[in-house]
Amino acid sequence: MMNTKRVISTIEKNYILNNLRKEERIDGRGLWEYRDWTVKPDVITSAEGSADVTLGDTRIITGLKYDVGTPFPDLPEEGVCTFMAELLPLASPIFERGPPSEQSIELARVVDRGIRHADCVQTKKLCIKANKAVYILFVDLYVINYSGNLIDVGGISSLTTLISSHIPEGKWVDDQIEWTGKYLTGETIVNELPIVTTYGKIGDVIFLDPTLPEELVCDGKISISVTEDKIVSIQKSGLATFSLEEINMLTKKSMEMGKKLRKELNLWQYKVKI
């Protein structure tokens, strides 16, 4: 068992920091390298879309369920896509059971904002009948093992879930829904692929994909979501402050990393054929 604690000794903190100053990481990576990704789509039989994504030892299983409900009055032709995250106590001894913690709410909200502002989910395609019936999608993230950088894994996990989704198609006939026997698949629902990348900052050193010990000692983090040509969402968390130059450097870096990840992971290969 890894001895996971909320605090880390000064010696270990200095060790991590001194390595970072030399542009080295304690696990041997460079400053701008990710740990290894594995992506498995459609792992849950009961869900209408799912993914099991790992980044190093961090692992998130995400599933999608749908419901049919009435649309919001101001958006009568648009479906709804909601995100929830749960930090399971089995993922780490520092996670407690009970109502959602700040960390789990932040995870769900940052993933949600990245996807919402990127025009990723085509909410208009989720409409069965304007003002009457739309699909409500629930994308639920379950953290199975925590080893740092939940947000990036959550982002890829949610995208894979949406791409691998297959929701029964309904038509509005005689004031009620009739199921056509066909499916709405991820290919129809998903448009853009926003990629969220998270950077940690310790002292004046910034690096990609913080691991758990790095997260515990770092002053703060910044998560940037990008589509192919735009920045769509940023979240700075923790006590660190970033200079204007650093922010500019990181937004450029995010575009670069986004392009690289999109190509490397090739998420569109996980769309289902029905």
Binding site: D42, I44, T45, S46, I61, K65, L88, R97, D140, P168
Partner: protein, 255 residues
């Protein structure tokens, strides 16, 4: 992938050729896959795939009791938390734990506690977290089986393992290991567990109707199935150590 839109029950639970809807014989188990040590941050862990059931289980302990007033001065406590993922069932489950989950947590706790030497750990707790990621009937049995593995993986002293299976009656016939649809549409469902140190039943629930003769028979069926599953459990635990042994001796041989 669900092919039906409504959660409808079929009229018959046996096919024309006398097999069950998923192609099994009456007393055939679904495929079972077990792994231990899958979660790095837990003291012990297990992953179980039983048909379409997918279950993660983690054990922490012995550790301090939190909240502190639950601690007992004369013995340790065992707390079990059974939770289902929102997407593990046909209709999305609400994220907060419901009455069913709390009851099953208690039943599982009562089933596992006889295995442990809690009197050796006064003031401490063992916590077992079980998360059902995908459910298809017989999850509580699968959870007991997985929890026993995770406790053993954590190195918690145990009298023996415990193994559980559901037996029951569908369309008037006694069968072993009910699937989700057989559980809902069948006539009777009997989850039971055996603790192997005394070969006695430590979990028993029953819903449905059966006459005395059938009931006699069904428990024998359960025991036959449990012996097979126990074998898989033992092999899973042994394989973990065989793998470690091979890793080290393999290194020596190369020298």
């Amino acid at each position: 992938m669900p092919l039906i839109i409504k959660d409808e029950y079929p009229e018959k639970l046996f096919r024309e050729d006398g097999k069950r809807l998923d192609g099994r014989d009456k007393h055939e188990l679904r495929p079972i896959k077990m792994e231990v040590g899958v979660l790095k941050n837990a003291d012990g862990s297990a992953y179980l795939e039983w048909g379409n059931n997918k279950i993660f289980c983690a054990v922490y302990g012995p550790r301090d009791v939190h909240p502190h007033y639950l601690a007992k001065p004369d013995k340790g406590i065992l707390r079990v938390f059974y939770r289902m993922a929102t997407f593990s069932v046909f209709d999305r489950k609400r994220p907060a734990p419901g009455r069913r989950e709390k009851e099953i947590s208690m039943v599982l706790g009562d089933c596992l506690e006889p295995l442990l030497f809690l009197e050796l750990y006064p003031g401490n707790s063992f916590e077992v977290f079980i998360n059902v990621m995908d459910a298809d009937g017989g999850t509580r049995c699968a959870c007991v089986t997985a929890a026993a593995l995770a406790l053993a993986d954590a190195g918690v002293p145990m009298r023996s393992l415990v193994t559980a299976v559901a037996v029951g009656k569908i369309d008037g016939e006694l069968v072993t290991d009910l699937s989700g649809i057989e559980d809902k549409a069948g006539d009777a469902d009997l989850p039971c567990a055996i603790t192997w140190f005394n070969e006695e039943i430590s979990l028993l629930q029953f819903d449905g109707s059966m006459d005395l003769k059938e009931f006699d028979e069904v428990l024998t069926l359960a025991k036959n199935a449990l012996i097979k599953i126990h074998e898989i459990q033992l092999n899973t635990l042994k394989n973990k150590y065989i793998a470690i042994q091979e890793e080290y001796s393999g290194g020596e041989n190369k020298k």
